[in-house]
């Protein structure tokens, strides 16, 4: 009876996920195999949508813009996020202070994405704060172009996604028993070995989890690159463009290719570490 109740508890979540997530994904898979016939499609199955997408002249650019920018943004978030999570877990002792730090990390999220992004214009724009100061000091002769370049994209992405990197790492580091580190120190292990063999290895599930969160968050964001990186073309943007023209099979094929790219990265990352360890093992 109790055992059955455990399965019953799963039902609401499972039904919701199957209806709003699994079923839509299956529909996209089917749609990507349909034959496009203007102004709609027929249900004859074909691989032409994929072949056309992959053999298109702009595909390598789309793929590299989508894949490498997300990978780089995730790496930057990791480089900033790991030291932050380390300081949070080992240097801040007061529970109260930790709660306030968590809340201050969350606060920028409640400011709308559009407003948060356009606020950078006041800092990085041609007539923004940075250029005004540098021009008035005579350091530069003309404004430095930062907005609408990949630099602006990374600044906005790091600001938006850093939280997703820090949270799982905080969880992993928070679970660490500090006595393990003390024991290593007593045994005269050099600091770099304590860091690598204990802290880094025990935090690895959190690091991978954070990396996945940021990578997936950035790879599916087609709006920021198109607006803030000078109209950078990505797979997500192409999916959106096809969809606005009601070219559903082509949009679906692009979407599945995006899913394959992100799943390939996730597969490699999950091979390195078992994410389940962070959750229930």
């Amino acid at each position: 009876m109790v055992k059955h109740a455990r399965y019953l508890l799963l039902l609401p979540g499972l039904i919701t996920f199957i209806f709003f997530l699994v079923a839509p994904l299956l529909i996209i898979v089917m749609m990507s195999l349909y034959t496009p016939v203007w102004p709609g499609y027929t249900t004859d199955l074909t691989l032409q949508n994929y072949i056309r997408y992959i053999t298109a002249r702009q595909f390598p650019t789309l793929l590299s813009n989508t894949f490498f920018t997300s990978l780089l943004a995730s790496a930057i978030c990791l480089m900033i996020g790991f030291p932050f999570a380390y300081c949070y877990s080992f240097k801040i002792k007061s529970e109260k202070a930790r709660n306030y730090i968590t809340m201050f990390l969350l606060a920028p999220f409640l400011i709308d994405w559009t407003i948060r992004s356009v606020a950078w214009i006041s800092i990085l724009g041609d007539q923004g704060f940075m250029n005004s100061i540098l021009l008035s000091m005579g350091v530069i002769g003309e404004p430095i172009k930062v907005l609408f370049t990949p630099t602006a994209l990374f600044i906005i992405w790091v600001q938006t996604n850093l939280l997703f990197m820090i949270f799982p790492m905080n969880l992993a580091l928070g679970r660490m028993n500090p006595e393990v580190i003390d024991a290593a120190k007593v045994l005269k292990a050099p600091p770099y070995r304590v860091f690598y063999e204990i802290i880094f290895k025990l935090a690895l599930p959190g690091i991978i989890c954070g990396f996945i969160f940021v990578f997936v968050g950035t790879i599916s964001d087609y709006i920021t690159p198109s607006l803030w990186a000078g109209g950078m073309q990505t797979i997500g943007l192409s999916v959106s463009t096809y969809a606005t023209q009601f070219l559903w099979p082509q949009a679906s094929a692009g979407g599945i290719i995006l899913l394959i790219v992100s799943m390939a990265v996730l597969y490699i990352l999950l091979k390195v570490v078992d994410i389940k360890k962070l959750v229930y093992e």
Partner: protein, 271 residues
Amino acid sequence: MKRTDILARVFMVLVFVVLYLPTIFLIALSFNTSAKITFPIQGFTLDWYAGPLKPYEMNPSYIPIIHDWQFWNAVMISLRVSGITAVLTCGLVTLTALSLRYRLVGRDILFYIFLLGFVTPGVLVGLGNLLLFRILDITITEWNMIALDTIYASSFGFILMMSRFDPDLMLYEYTAAALRVGPLRVFRHITLPLIKWEVLSAGILGFLLSWGELIRSLWVVRGTGTVSIFLFVNLGVYPLTTKWFAAGTLLAVVSIAGLMVMATILSRGAK
């Protein structure tokens, strides 16, 4: 205090400066008399917030925020969508996490299904739902946005909640059950008090993720939409003026105040 401790704190402060730099400028420039987002600041005014409504002013970029009923309509929709998402996320995450603590048949598969909500690119979730509702001929309403936001927030909340469970929780539950206490009483008197902060955190997360959601919601929006969609659409059509910074400042101040209250409550309840 050790040198490393000081360095650690300086680093954390620097990260916060980068995170909050746009917000600081957003607030400062929202009081600028000039409509242009440029430096130096021309003068101080509250007109972008509560100035008089000029007759025949049709461009939303120049209508003071207090008179912009479409903005307030979007705020109300956002509050409704995010509030319902928070409640649904709390419920789904709690039930799922409590169930998946046990070694159920197919637990790993179920785990990956729940993880799918976060790892699937948002553009796919949005497109898939749009196609699903077109095929089923279901009219798209606010509830579609709520469903998409709940899926997204539940995946994330599920991982966070499960990894924060008290390791001894199951032991207490087994002990109570061995003493023949009914499952509902066990849940009410043992489980819930021990996980209430995790449940609350899942709710906050649901609210936050829903509030800022754009990529998924854009596919299933009808009418004004949430604040995110309203601002995104308006700034794509109308010029960026100080009025939009005033709107952002209002949202920022209310959010930070709300989170401060939440931090105070959580500090009191911290184990």
